[in-house]
């Protein structure tokens, strides 16, 4: 048994192709946006020449196709262009907020998936009892409530009424973390992250929970589970090692894909909690017509999504020895 590099290679190639197509669509979508991209930045007092200098500076004076080629070439070199607003390299701007988004995502996903998987097992175990119905209703509540709405209520209660947790940002005013690592390991940072990530986790919780429950109910019907029981193994062992271990496979995939989803989907949470992350940056960039930045942030989110899809595929075949490549579509 060796790793099938040919397959991984092909899959990787597909990933790049997908990214390229997304980049292309993005490029044209942003170029076709109504409105002069420089409106917000060209002071009306500028002379025609000054405006032209600016256009030239951003490479907007060239024909569209040529711009596209330049864009692709730059992309290959990891150059996403210059932000109109920040007058800075897009990648650098994005890199400043990306860790925050990743922390938030990661933390809330972990909470959501740990609680979700355990909850799913519990509900499957309670199948047919009252507790199951109550559990499902509660879960569906968390999944149906608009995120920002929950966020606002959570803020109002925990931050402003009870004053337990801070309401915005990644740290108290004027406090600087010495390094990204220092930030990550600081309890203060975690205190700031708790509210937004819990809000996000509440929303994310539903999917793994319900998925896990359904899978559990299904795998509990599998003969190897019944037979494990016949072997006189304890109920806990049967539930965890047999039913849950198999039922968790699609949940793990869902998590990898969910991570990709969440990276783009956290715009709302980041805005409610004034969290300096990718989603907020993207919304700001769109509102301010900073299309190189919007494009860059979008592309990065897409790249993470595509990559996580790729990881999900690989992960699945690692976790489930039965799976073949064709099964993964």
């Amino acid at each position: 048994m060796t790793l099938n590099w040919k397959y991984i290679g092909r899959r990787f190639g597909q990933m790049l192709l997908t990214l390229w197509i997304i980049a292309t669509i993005l490029f044209f979508v942003f170029r076709l946006m109504p409105g002069n991209p420089l409106t917000a930045y060209i002071d009306p007092n500028f002379t025609k020449e000054q405006q032209e200098i600016l256009l030239e500076q951003f490479g907007l004076d060239k024909p569209l196709f040529q711009q596209y080629l330049v864009f692709l070439l730059n992309l290959l070199q990891g150059n996403l262009g210059t932000s109109f607003v920040y007058r800075d390299d897009v990648l650098r701007v994005v890199a400043r907020v990306l860790p925050n988004t990743l922390y938030l995502m990661l933390f809330s996903l972990i909470i959501a998936y740990v609680v979700g998987v355990l909850g799913g097992i519990l509900l499957a175990w309670l199948r047919g009892k009252k507790g199951e119905t109550v559990g499902i209703i509660l879960t569906l509540f968390t999944r149906s409530a608009p995120q920002f709405w929950v966020g606002m209520l959570v803020l109002a209660i925990f931050s402003f009424r009870l004053g337990w947790l801070p309401s915005s940002g990644t740290g108290p005013a004027g406090v600087t973390y010495a390094s990204e690592w220092a930030k990550f390991t600081s309890p203060v940072f975690w205190k700031y992250m708790l509210l937004p990530s819990l809000t996000l986790a509440i929303y994310l919780l539903g999917l793994p929970l319900l998925l896990m429950r359904t899978n559990m109910v299904e795998t509990m019907e599998e003969s190897y589970v019944t037979i494990a029981r016949m072997r006189g193994l304890s109920e806990r062992r049967v539930m965890l090692k047999y039913a849950a271990r198999n039922a968790i496979l699609p949940v793990v995939t869902a998590m990898a894909v969910g991570f990709g989803y969440a990276i783009g989907g956290n715009v709302v949470i980041e805005n409610v909690f004034s969290w300096p992350g990718l989603g907020r940056l993207l919304v700001d960039a769109v509102t301010m017509s900073d299309y190189p930045l919007a494009q860059g942030a979008f592309l990065l989110a897409a790249a993470i999504m595509v990559f996580m899809n790729f990881v999900a595929d690989l992960l699945y075949s690692v976790l489930d020895p039965r799976i073949t490549v064709e099964d993964m579509g």
């Binding site: 192709l17 946006m33 409530a145 715009v267």
Partner: protein, 286 residues
């Protein structure tokens, strides 16, 4: 295609689905008869004794109070069912139709068509949804139709994948093979043999999409990209947020639209949950 009796049977058997259906029906009725139920025009700044009634708390004339611009919240809530249902149902329809067609064609014909469509699905899977909606809406202008469009362009992806794998398995089933042996044409096989069997599944995804659409509309509205010309619940929440209903303690403004969204989204989940049990007869026997 699906017998009326079996639908009734389905709702009779699954209490969740029944509750879901009742919620849907209630909201549809509310939407249809909104002008009859709502005491005021939702856009009207209501005057009391010649003065605009701002920020009224719930009282006899204003069952849920008024907004900071003196609009009747109850009336807005009633009218809000319209865009919510419109967005929900049209988006779900698109998601269902596009997803089902792509999945069906891809799974049934296989080969190059399949790989092409699946690559396309990969591409669509690579596009982050919320940002895409925001870009599209800021690009095409804030309108519920553009939100629907964004959903139609992206959200068929899950449906397509699931339908495809379902078609792949149905395609291999003996009765489809039997139809081929009988000489049935592709269209006959698709419409008489495969479609009826995947339709419940696409309906399931459709009902999930209703929830998605409503939540998306709300989120986009919240971020300020919403359609101000139609008073949806998402818009109401946004309005409440911008107008600081929370700081004002106006829970009568902040809560009802959120609860309505939750109920409607949940109704979709309820129905799909019921459908899930029906689609997996293995579970039903227990």
């Amino acid at each position: 295609m699906i017998e009326m009796t079996s639908i009734l049977e389905f709702f009779r058997q699954d209490k969740f689905a029944l509750v879901g259906a009742i919620i849907y029906i209630l909201f549809i009725l509310v939407a249809l008869f909104a002008p009859a139920i709502a005491p005021y025009d939702p856009q009207e700044m209501v005057r009391v004794d010649g003065r605009i009634a701002f920020n009224r708390e719930p009282e006899k004339n204003f069952k849920l109070g008024t907004t900071n611009m003196g609009r009747d919240i109850f009336s807005q809530l009633i009218y809000g069912a319209r865009p919510a249902l419109t967005v929900g149902f049209t988006a779900a329809l698109f998601v269902m139709v596009v997803g089902t067609v792509v999945g069906l064609v891809s799974g049934y014909f296989g080969g190059k068509v399949d790989s092409l469509l699946m690559r396309l699905t990969d591409v669509v899977f690579g596009i982050p949804f919320d940002p895409f909606v925001i870009v599209l809406v800021s690009f095409l202008g804030p309108s519920i139709w553009n939100i629907v469009l964004a959903m139609a362009l992206l959200l068929w992806r899950d449906t397509a994948r699931v339908i495809r794998s379902q078609v792949l398995s149905i395609k291999k089933r003996a009765f489809v093979e039997a139809a081929r042996v009988s000489g049935a044409s592709h269209s006959r096989i698709i419409f008489s043999y495969i479609m009826p069997n995947i339709l419940p599944l696409s309906l399931l995804y459709g009902s999930l999409a209703i929830g998605w659409a409503i939540l998306t509309e709300a989120a986009v509205s919240f971020l300020g990209f919403g359609d101000p010309s139609s008073i949806s619940w998402g818009y109401m929440l946004h309005d409440a947020y911008v107008s600081q209903a929370l700081s004002r303690g106006a829970f009568y403004w902040m809560l009802p639209p959120g609860i309505c969204i939750m109920l409607l989204v949940m109704a979709g989940f309820y129905i799909s949950r019921g459908a899930e049990e029906v689609l997996q007869p293995k579970l039903r026997s227990m």
